[in-house]
Symmetry: D3
Subunit: 143 residues, 6 copies
Amino acid sequence: MNKPQVATVSPVDESTESHEVQSIFEDIMQTKGIDFVPRFWRVLATNPVQLKLVWNSLKELMHPESSGRDSSLSPLSREMIALAVSATNGCSYCVNSHTAAMRKLGADDETLGEVLAIAGLFNMTNALADGYQVEPDVLPPVD
Amino acid sequence: MNKPQVATVSPVDESTESHEVQSIFEDIMQTKGIDFVPRFWRVLATNPVQLKLVWNSLKELMHPESSGRDSSLSPLSREMIALAVSATNGCSYCVNSHTAAMRKLGADDETLGEVLAIAGLFNMTNALADGYQVEPDVLPPVD
Amino acid sequence: MNKPQVATVSPVDESTESHEVQSIFEDIMQTKGIDFVPRFWRVLATNPVQLKLVWNSLKELMHPESSGRDSSLSPLSREMIALAVSATNGCSYCVNSHTAAMRKLGADDETLGEVLAIAGLFNMTNALADGYQVEPDVLPPVD
Amino acid sequence: MNKPQVATVSPVDESTESHEVQSIFEDIMQTKGIDFVPRFWRVLATNPVQLKLVWNSLKELMHPESSGRDSSLSPLSREMIALAVSATNGCSYCVNSHTAAMRKLGADDETLGEVLAIAGLFNMTNALADGYQVEPDVLPPVD
Amino acid sequence: MNKPQVATVSPVDESTESHEVQSIFEDIMQTKGIDFVPRFWRVLATNPVQLKLVWNSLKELMHPESSGRDSSLSPLSREMIALAVSATNGCSYCVNSHTAAMRKLGADDETLGEVLAIAGLFNMTNALADGYQVEPDVLPPVD
Amino acid sequence: MNKPQVATVSPVDESTESHEVQSIFEDIMQTKGIDFVPRFWRVLATNPVQLKLVWNSLKELMHPESSGRDSSLSPLSREMIALAVSATNGCSYCVNSHTAAMRKLGADDETLGEVLAIAGLFNMTNALADGYQVEPDVLPPVD
């Protein structure tokens, strides 16, 4: 009767013998400054090709300093976008993970509240604009 | 054969005789510093109750200075969240509108690109976390 | 440069020679009291199996009188649900179609507005409840 | 291993010392005719600005009698729309909450079933119309 | 505090006295080659009209051999589509159910991983294409 | 009045002077066996970092032969998943693009119809399972 969410595959153990996976696990912990491998990555590791691709993308976009790239967005702004998207999609793991990341970057309940209030607001206006099929005011005068 | 999107109701004219609607239209133009009433609001005005509620919420959350409130987020951060949500939902009107707002606040193609790349990334990880039913690493140690 | 939405398959002509499809087309027009076959059905007819299944379901659920079944919902209530779902999903064809159906059943701009305002509201609260991962107050004390 | 959903913030206690929040909590219980504050509102209260905005909108749209407004929709119709949207978005808290509200208004399993069957049906047709990119039959002959 | 997901209606017992429902339950077990009635169908059975419609559609589309129809897709391809859609919508019951079905058909972790990696990838590109409002390259040169 | 979808940024020209972008454009045309650069990639190229990341992921997952990897899925199966996800999200560009890809791989209207019928079916059952909050039958007996 009591059945919480459990991953549909067995997460790969942190002490995996695969050198390829082990090396990505270490990069994840070092880049994020944490001392464990989040379950998300241990689950993706059941298919190493996908582990590598997703980590490469996330590392580049969320940790631009790792490749010496300048970003127009602050680390907190990046996590805000992650939380807003995850709230829109209703993804449990992701909401928990990005909320924790925002708190680690110093966000308090009020900041969390503002992000979610704005995400909620635009989920409402999106439904209204689509529900009325409102056409754009002007086409983008691009550049 | 050539049928672009057209609103399902007749937008209320800017020169409406309804004082209630007229007054909200003026508040919209003044608060946003624009000289026309975006079609979205002219469509909502077909049901004045909803026009008032949506505008009150949007004004308070996106223009906190109007009520003397301090916000933890910059105007650009707020629009980034709006764009990320609108991209996730695939709302045409909203993507156009928030892209224009970001440009007005100084965002260039690269900043737009970063916001959308991050929004895209988390739409991917959301589908992966949900598709594997990954359970949260730890429950929030709230406060 | 000017590229509106066009179906990805050639809709089946109303005067198709397939007896199976022809007979469903006639049932659609008669059940709905219209004198043309909406493009949606002409598109589905490119795969007759699916035309039959979708029409059977829609006929039974939206036109319960056709099978002598009593429904707890009025025709207008059923169309309201259809519009609310279509606005949530941002489906152009569907929003247009169900808005037209509601007008045919007598709905004016204000009723349309109420339905969309409520649909919009709950898209907002859904994002908030999911974005905070609010747990249910009580489990359903079913029956 | 056993990790059900838990809110990412500490819900505000019903006996909060904030007068502003306390007064909204009382309005919620009185307007809804219940003797406790649902967790959703206690969570939103962690950011009082958002608590006020969301409650104002929900009160006006779902309890129009509170402002002396006539609504075209019955209380049950309004909750049906709420359930249909929540089912479409897959929001746990919301599905539980609106199902309970429908039952309180007298809905039995069959009525619940009709609402969900119709919501399910249009999630199917939405995917089909979008998946084939079916263009609208006619543009709205608006008024 | 510990509140996992529980259906909002009481599932109909496998040993129901309704002949109509009993007969569908038996068809489900026989067609799927299983010896119990999955909870999804026992829940739908609370509204027999919907049980019949949904089962008819699923039986025809997922078990085409039952009506002697040839399908262009293999059973595994059909389940892959089901899993990809369920991951996109974040439906827990559905992800678990279709993952189990894929495993029964012989899929290992790597195949599961490929399906989810591809589903994740296109959730990303969908958000990007919509977030930039990219117009189609060419309209379908249909047939 | 006639406003079809237009990208919110100016797509990068095929004859761009950026060597980095030019080289990816050539890889796209060669890997896909086409003689033009689809607008999606020309739009992403406005932010070269994202162009590279998205192309790397798509190339690896959709063209595994390019890295000498064996895939459990056929090219057609991979495009079916792409179409099912795009139909679920209602992404115009993506539906058009993946429908074209399926046709190039030999799919006819009936195969397209089966994929979309199945995608539609599971959008319906997803809404039903979530709308009733059906709990999984059994937790995954993983491996």
